[in-house]
């Protein structure tokens, strides 16, 4: 118990130290969070009427962001599988970062759902026994369960591994292995359940297609790892953490496959809708062509299409995949492309035209954008704090001091541009841990 307390206070001291760049970054995030919080207070006072959601389009930007971020969170599994199932060393060294990204993404998911609620203070109605969670009937109840399970799993695994390394112990495999194995189906479950949430509604033909779950998974395995690679590049450039090119290349290869499946499924969907040309074509037409002169999403979805297809080729062609500049561009394209496609591009056409075929065009208001920005800043803040602790631990720059009580902090700066000579060798816990 005492050890946990010392570890905790040690991390607090650690996160308060850093370079000017680190302080600046954290300050920017805190400012954005404060702006978002102010906007949220205003929304609480005036109600959701301050958004542009209305009865016709009853979910908007918040739920779009939520949906996208569930995908990002689920994608940590793409690091866990090669690391812990196939014991592939280059990825094992960085798998913890994936778990921490999952934690941060789920935090954002929960915040986005909360921001969307008319009565967030009644959240306790969702707690089984105390409230009345409608499990197993409601898919939203399922989502509450799987998201929190996934959050708990990733948090436990990552914190336990880091805690063990801090005290210079080898993480106990009989504790971590079952949790890691459980986190794999759990990652798939959060995305499957989120897709089912839309999928099960007969009222909304745009979502009521059995291809939705595989499409969700395929796009998640693009956007999440793409974000991961961007983070790897940044971490490698600005911290002392070393990330093997082989690991990045493996992840990039996986994105190429996932994007192929994603585009294939999208094509299948479009063929079915356009060739059949039933009344259910309307939302697809709204998205890709515009409907009765309403076309707010059209430029966005075509941007996404161009981005995704371009990125697919950049990932596919070995030369562009191995070139760090084109790889970075491809990752950004995928991230933005999937953000549009699996965000607003998925949620809004479910409501346009609405169930009585009325068209109400939605685009988020300033308050919606500010609150969403605040939530993204919160997620990045959480992620920064987690990395601030995790990276020095993995580098061997943060561990218990020789007296067994205090902590040794070898990395006072954290964010500094790295020359090749500064690069530390990560703690080698891979080998003995693998066997």
């Amino acid at each position: 118990m005492k050890n946990i307390w010392h570890f905790f206070t040690g991390t607090l001291v650690l996160v308060s130290k850093g370079s000017k760049a680190y302080y600046g970054w954290v300050l920017i995030l805190l400012t954005l969070m404060a702006i978002g919080a102010t906007a949220y207070v205003q929304q609480m006072n005036e109600g959701l009427i301050i958004t542009s959601m209305r009865d016709q389009v009853s979910w908007g930007f918040y739920i779009s962001n939520f949906t996208f971020l569930v995908g990002v969170a689920a994608a940590a599994v793409l690091l866990v599988i090669p690391a812990y199932v196939y014991h592939w060393k280059p990825i094992k060294e960085i798998a913890v970062l994936g778990e921490l990204l999952a934690v941060s993404a789920i935090v954002m998911c929960l915040l986005f759902v909360t921001a969307d609620l008319g009565h967030p203070e009644r959240f306790w109605h969702l707690i089984p026994k105390i409230g009345r969670l409608n499990f197993p009937q409601s898919l939203l109840a399922w989502d509450v369960v799987v998201l929190n399970t996934y959050l708990a799993l990733n948090l436990t695994i990552a914190v336990y591994i880091l805690y063990s390394l801090y005290y210079k112990r080898t993480p106990n495999k009989s504790f971590t292995t079952p949790l890691l194995l459980l986190s794999i189906p759990s990652a798939i479950s959060i995305h499957t359940v989120t897709a089912f949430l839309y999928n099960g509604l007969g009222a909304r033909p745009f979502w009521n297609s059995s291809i939705l779950v595989p499409r969700f998974l395929a796009s998640a395995f693009c956007s999440g790892p793409a974000f991961m690679i961007i983070i790897f590049f940044l971490v490698r450039k600005y911290t002392k953490f070393r990330i093997d090119d082989k690991a990045i290349q493996k992840v990039a290869e996986l994105i190429a496959y996932a994007m192929f499946v994603n585009l294939l499924l999208l094509g299948a969907e479009l063929f079915k809708e356009y060739y059949t040309a039933s009344a259910h074509l309307a939302p697809v037409q709204y998205l890709f062509q515009g409907l009765h002169g309403h076309s707010a999403l059209v430029p966005w979805i075509w941007t996404a299409m161009v981005f995704n297809i371009t990125a697919f080729f950049l990932f596919l062609v070995p030369d562009t995949r191995r070139n760090n500049v084109t790889l970075m561009i491809a990752c950004i394209l995928v991230f933005v492309g999937v953000y549009i496609e699996k965000g607003m591009g998925l949620v809004i056409p479910g409501f346009i035209p609405d169930v009585l075929h009325e068209i109400y065009e939605y685009s988020p208001t300033g308050v919606e954008l500010l609150i969403s920005m605040g939530i993204w800043a919160t997620g990045l803040f959480v992620f920064t704090m987690l990395l601030r602790v995790a990276i020095p631990i993995l580098n061997g720059d943060f561990h218990v001091a020789d007296d067994g009580v205090g902590s040794f902090i070898g990395d006072q700066l954290f964010l500094v541009q790295q020359g090749p000579e500064d690069v530390a060798k990560p703690v080698d816990f891979g080998d003995e841990y693998a066997d």
Binding site: V41, L117, L140, G202, L356, E358
Partner: protein, 308 residues
């Protein structure tokens, strides 16, 4: 689009003082309520789900609500919790060959059920359709506004909650804040709804409406005869819907729903589906009846028919 940008400007250019004021108010909201106001605020916060309330607890809740509404509107507001009548299942019939699209039902409903006047919430939506095309929603006109109705070449189709036997909306609610009562009416507990609006995404009839802002209900317009599960004044941030005028139809002797009563052409019929002698049963058995979006298998208890 222009509305949105107006809204943006309104928000972004708000004076700093106003923002600070709302921040302070918000912190006040979050902070523990003061000693005097606290009792009822906490009572409301910790109030159990409607169906878990004991008789005594229900009484307390109703007393609290009646006091609150009466203070709010400056007149005595009664809140009932009349249970379903044994052996009754309500059904509604709407004669499309008679409806003239006058929207009297829409506004009678608003008056009876204490919907927000500003912003406007309507539980009934009347669509103008082309006779040539039949019930083809892609050509529906929702905001028709001629000097007189009916217009040549058109017919009218009012849509409200269809009180489904298999309601997709109640199935999806994550907290069981909405359910189907034994008499078939789908109701919402406004004190339990968390405002996630999943039910609105699930409803194929657009029958559910959200209080996006604080409901604007002038004291002079309040109908003081209310039901807990129906037309009592609603808070902002919860979903509401048609309840077949639960505050009228569950009484003994019962009264017709307000929309049925006001209809100038007798296009609306209402009755007990379990009573073989009822008018609604006669219509179902003898007229050409269709139910809306039959393919979704929601099994509405709202029957459209052509009497002529």
């Amino acid at each position: 689009m222009s509305d949105n940008s107006k809204c943006d400007n309104h928000v972004l250019h708000k004076s700093r003082r106003k923002v600070l004021k709302s921040l302070a108010a918000g912190i006040g909201l979050i902070a523990l309520p003061g000693k005097e106001a606290s009792a009822s605020v906490w009572e409301e916060f910790f109030q159990k789900h409607f169906r878990e309330l004991s008789k005594d607890e229900l009484k307390q809740v109703i007393t609290r609500l009646e006091k609150k509404y009466s203070q709010q509107f400056g007149k005595q507001v009664n809140v009932k919790a009349t249970p379903p009548i044994e052996g009754v299942k309500y059904g509604y019939g709407l004669d499309l060959s008679r409806c003239i699209g006058c929207r009297r039902c829409v506004y009678a409903c608003v008056g009876e059920n204490n919907q927000s006047r500003d912003p406007q919430i309507h539980w009934i939506r009347v669509m103008q359709l082309d006779k040539e095309k039949g019930v083809d929603l892609s050509h529906a006109e929702h905001y028709y506004n001629p000097a007189t109705v009916p217009e040549k070449g058109h017919f009218y189709m009012p849509v409200q909650c269809q009180q489904c036997e298999k309601p997709p909306c109640t199935k999806v609610c994550p907290v069981q804040a909405t359910w189907k009562e034994n008499d078939g009416i789908v109701v919402v507990d406004y004190n339990w709804c968390i405002g996630c609006r999943y039910c609105m995404a699930a409803c194929p009839y657009g029958a559910r409406h959200f209080n996006w802002g604080k409901p604007g209900l002038p004291a002079k317009d309040v109908n003081t005869n209310t039901h807990y599960l129906g037309n009592r004044p609603r808070p902002k941030g919860v979903v509401e819907k048609c309840t077949f005028c639960i505050q009228r139809t569950r009484e003994q002797p019962g009264r017709y729903p307000a929309c049925e009563e006001i209809c100038p052409v007798g296009a609306r019929k209402f009755g007990n589906l379990l009573d073989p002698e009822s008018e609604i049963r006669y219509l179902i058995e003898n007229k050409r009846v269709f139910i809306f979006k039959e393919e979704l298998n929601t099994q509405p208890k709202f029957f459209y028919f052509y009497a002529t």
